[in-house]
Structure formats: C-alpha cells, structure tokens
C-alpha cells in the first residue's frame, strides 16, 4: 500500500486493517493527529484525506490506499505558518493543545471550502470536535478571522506580555 503524506510518497508496511491513525503515528512517526477517544467522538485525530477532513481512527489504511493525506505538519512550517495556524496563535485558540490538531485541520478545510465565516456555519463545521478546556469562543474567533482573511503580525502577538486574550494586542 502507498500513501502520499504531506506531499511525500510513503510505502506502508502495516496490516491493511490498521487504522490510518496508527499508521501515521506508529509507522510514520507523524504525531500531530492525536489518539483521543479512538472511536470517532472527539475529532482530535482528524486529517485531510484527498482534501476532505476525515477521522483517521475510523479509517482502515486499506480503505485509503493511494490517497493523499495531509496532517498539521503539512499545513505550514514554523517559519511560514498556514493562515489558520497564524489565526489560532494570534487569537490564543489553544489551551492544552490536545484538540488543536483536529481543530486546525477542520478549520483549514472549512476555509478552503469557501466557508463564509458566520458563527453558525463554523459551529456546523467544527461540531465533531471536542475541546475539553472549553476554549470554543477563541477557536471560533480564530476560524472567523481566517475566513475573513485577517492578517497578523505574530512578532507583536508573541512579544505581548499579556497576549491577545487579555487585551494586549488589538
């Protein structure tokens, strides 16, 4: 079996019914998809399969043989963050960070799919993602900002002693 993961072609040795999540984390060492509930209920393992957000814990790797898989590692780089990553940083949309990979993938797919940025459609797109820190307000703010095309100077965001959530940068 073969997968193209973040633009790189990989041949897969795992058993065909191994979950895509286990293949990514255990065989390929790509650990942004998180093993949360491992039954489709939390969203933290979400990756893009041929540009569509999918639960990697609900897919046997044989079902996606030949597919293009994108994880957070493939969205941007530390020097050049993807727009959703910039917005999440600026809006302080991560607390413990466990749900963030899945949120970023869903948010990226939502924006790429032409999401309008209104509250209701963002909620619909992220409905399968659970944040147990309950940081939903800032996550939705960040997704709306990305959909609007907001731009951020993250050097200022990072330099702010109080961060944006406390009013340091407007």
């Amino acid at each position: 079996m073969n997968l193209t993961v973040n633009g790189v072609s990989r041949s897969i040795e795992s058993e065909p019914l191994t979950t895509l999540l286990d293949v990514l984390r255990e065989e390929l060492g790509i650990v942004s998809p998180k093993a949360g509930c491992e039954q489709g209920g939390c969203g933290s393992c979400t990756v893009l399969v041929d540009s569509e957000p999918r639960r990697s814990c609900l897919l046997a790797v044989a079902m996606v043989d030949g597919a293009e898989v994108t994880t957070v590692e493939g969205l941007g780089t530390p020097e050049r963050l993807a727009p959703v990553q910039q917005a999440f940083t600026h809006h302080y949309a991560a607390q413990c960070g466990f749900c963030t990979s899945g949120m970023l993938i869903a948010a990226h797919a939502y924006v790429e799919g032409g999401g309008s940025g209104d509250h209701e459609s963002i909620q619909e797109a992220l409905a399968g993602h659970v944040c147990r820190c309950t940081g939903y307000v800032k996550i939705i703010d960040a997704v709306a900002a990305t959909a609007r095309g907001d731009e951020f100077d993250l050097s200022v965001t990072a330099a702010s002693a109080r961060m944006t959530n406390l009013g340091g940068v407007q």
Binding site: T19, E38, E52, R55, C57, L58, A60, G128
Partner: protein
Amino acid sequence: MTQATEVLVPGSADEAVKLFGDGNDVTVIGGGTIVVPELANGRRSAGKALLLTRAGLAGVSRNGSRVTIGAATPVQELVGLEAPVGPCAANVADVEVRSQGTVGGNLCAAVDEVPRGDLQSALLAVGATVRSAGAGGIAEQALEDFLPERDGRLILDVSYDEPEAGSFVALERPHAHVYTALGVSAARAGDGTIRVAATGLAAHGVRLPSAEAAADDPGKAGADAVDDVSPTDDALASAWYRSKTLPVLVRRALTELKEQA
C-alpha cells in the same frame, strides 16, 4: 487486534456480491465509522474483511420520482433530499463523520448499548425497498421486512418514491456524536398513504401502525403510538421518558405533515 484472515477489496458490485457469498465469516466495511474502531479495540474480529471502498456502490440516482441510493453512499449526500430523508440525514453524527459513514452501514448498525441507525425512521416512512445479496442470491424486499433479518445480507441499494410530503422530528442530541434517543419520521406517498416510523424504540427502526391509522388526528395518533412499542431503558433515555415523549414527537411530525397539504 486489527488483523483479518483475508482483506477483500472488490472493484465492482458484481465482484462484491461474489466475494460476500453467503456472508459467513465476512465483515463488511463501508465507511468504517462503526466497524473500524470495533476492530481496532478488539471488540470484534474481522474474519474475512470486505471493503466496499472501490465496489462502485456509492451514489444517488433519480428516475422520475424514484430515488435510488447505493449502499456505500455517504450519509451526508442525502442531506439535500426532501423530508423526511434529508433532515433525518442531517441529524446523523457531525458533518465529517456522516461524510464517511454510509447508508448501508446505517441500516445494518446493530444495537450497541443504545439503538443506532438513525436514518431508518425516514427510509421506513417513505416505504423504501432494499436490494441485498447473500444466501439465495439477490433479493428485493421492503425495508421493514429486511431490518429484522438483515444479518448475513449485503445491501446493494435502497430505493423509494419521493413522497408528496414528509417530516422528521427528534429529541435534541446533547452533542453531535450521540445517537438520537428518539426520532420520528412521517411521509405521505403520492397515493395518499401515510407512513409513520421511529428509531430509538427497538433494535431497529419500526413502523407505528396505530399512529398511521389515526394520522388525521395527530393528537390521537401520538397517544395511540405508545401501544405499538415497548421501549427499554438505555444510556440515552429511560423507557418511561421515551413513552412520554413519543406521543409528542408523533403529534408534531403529523401536524407538520398536515400543514404541507
């Protein structure tokens, strides 16, 4: 353990039927949303795994008012259909999971602590027929006859005539990943026949004949519907709660149907 004795990936519907055979020791994997985690956490062993991903069984087609839905069609693809099917599909899981889970899997989902298969009420209400393969070859039967004896069958497609009017009502889910505790669908066919069906009351979706008989009087239909079922307690709701809310949902569904006269 996720190993199987054999993993079969048919490239056509005919090949899928042949490889499924009489279904003995075959685990069918459509979208994988139910079966894959059960395999991964060891709650199920696969035997022979039949993957429908490339079997060409996905897609919705129309011939006049006849709608035919392939077994491997993602539930999300039904969201745009007329009530009750469209709104019922929109109430299944969240948009990402229902884009992966299939109609065939939804109709075959067994009870797992709670009744699953939230689409069944809508497809029962529109009088859907199921074409399935298995021992004795390909058979076509009404969905209500198929559901009690679905073990050992491979669904190929489901079809129905678009109803003249339809409605779907359900108890709200606390989160997108929870199965519906109680859902009621009603539909009026072109010949005036009214069908009412529910999920959350038994191992699979059921018609509510007493409610259908009193369909002209939604309040009475709701009260009578309780006679058709014997709900049980589970993690989602108690039998008492279901028996108290069923009349309300039936009344609302039929009232909504009447308003579409």
